[in-house]
Symmetry: C2
Subunit: 149 residues, 2 copies
């Protein structure tokens, strides 16, 4: 199959495939006319790359998986190097999640504080002579409205 078809099969673009080839990640055979030629194995490699990409792996991090598949192993993660990448990624994810949670807590606290202070300032500004009575004019009119239909 040619580059366009492979791209379509994998839900990506030809530019991406050429990019992978430029990195030596997914080299292609060439037909007589210079066109890149791929087979089903390449599709599997590519799918492996895409799955890891969706997980947020960098392209270099997918290399052990690709190499593992090309070495004939049944899965990209059948090799120790791939497992190491998994573990490193888990650690990274934990760090990142922890960091974001701390930030989230801090930002949430700041928002709550700022909202309190804003409310306090508003109240102080709007009420130099005590709070205005609720429904200052409405109640006397209620009977009218209810009794005049």
């Amino acid at each position: 199959m040619r580059i366009g078809e492979l791209a379509q099969q994998a839900g990506t673009t030809t530019r991406t495939l050429r990019h992978y080839e430029s990195l030596g990640l997914l080299p292609a055979r060439r037909a007589g006319n210079g066109y890149r030629t791929y087979d089903e194995d390449d599709l599997r490699l590519l799918r492996q790359i895409r799955v890891l990409q969706d997980f947020g792996f960098g392209l270099e991090e997918t290399r052990p998986f690709v190499d593992c598949l090309r070495a004939g192993h049944p899965a990209g993660d059948s090799c120790p190097a791939s497992l190491e990448v998994y573990r490193r990624k888990l650690a990274e994810l934990d760090d990142c999640i922890g960091h974001l949670r701390r930030v989230r807590a801090e930002v949430g606290a700041q928002l709550a504080r700022a909202e309190r202070e804003t409310a306090a300032l508003k109240a102080a500004a709007e009420v130099p002579g005590g709070p205005p009575p609720l429904c200052a004019l409405a109640p006397p009119d209620i009977e009218e409205e209810l009794s005049t239909p």
Copy 2:
């Protein structure tokens, strides 16, 4: 104060300050010789920016806070625009954390599966004639070791 001193006070670099100025985020007065001149208020603005940066805010997201401070408000988050940025950031953080947690779970599951399969393959490869007996030779020697000191 000049740019180098401000940078030092805020724990950043002169390049960063010039960058902020190029964005109109932290403009500077100029001395007669063309040198940038800052005061304590600028330091406060800069500290506000840095805090938000540490939270992962983009520079444009810090602008409402800076504008708010420059407008004379006591805090950068005393203005509605700043509160909106807080809220948007909280939503973003929640999305991001949720995403990362899902990815973490998936990667964790993949690692566990791959480790099981690797172990299974090893076992199958190493034991073509059944599992080796545990402590095949050790037990007979125990009495010797215990009785010969």
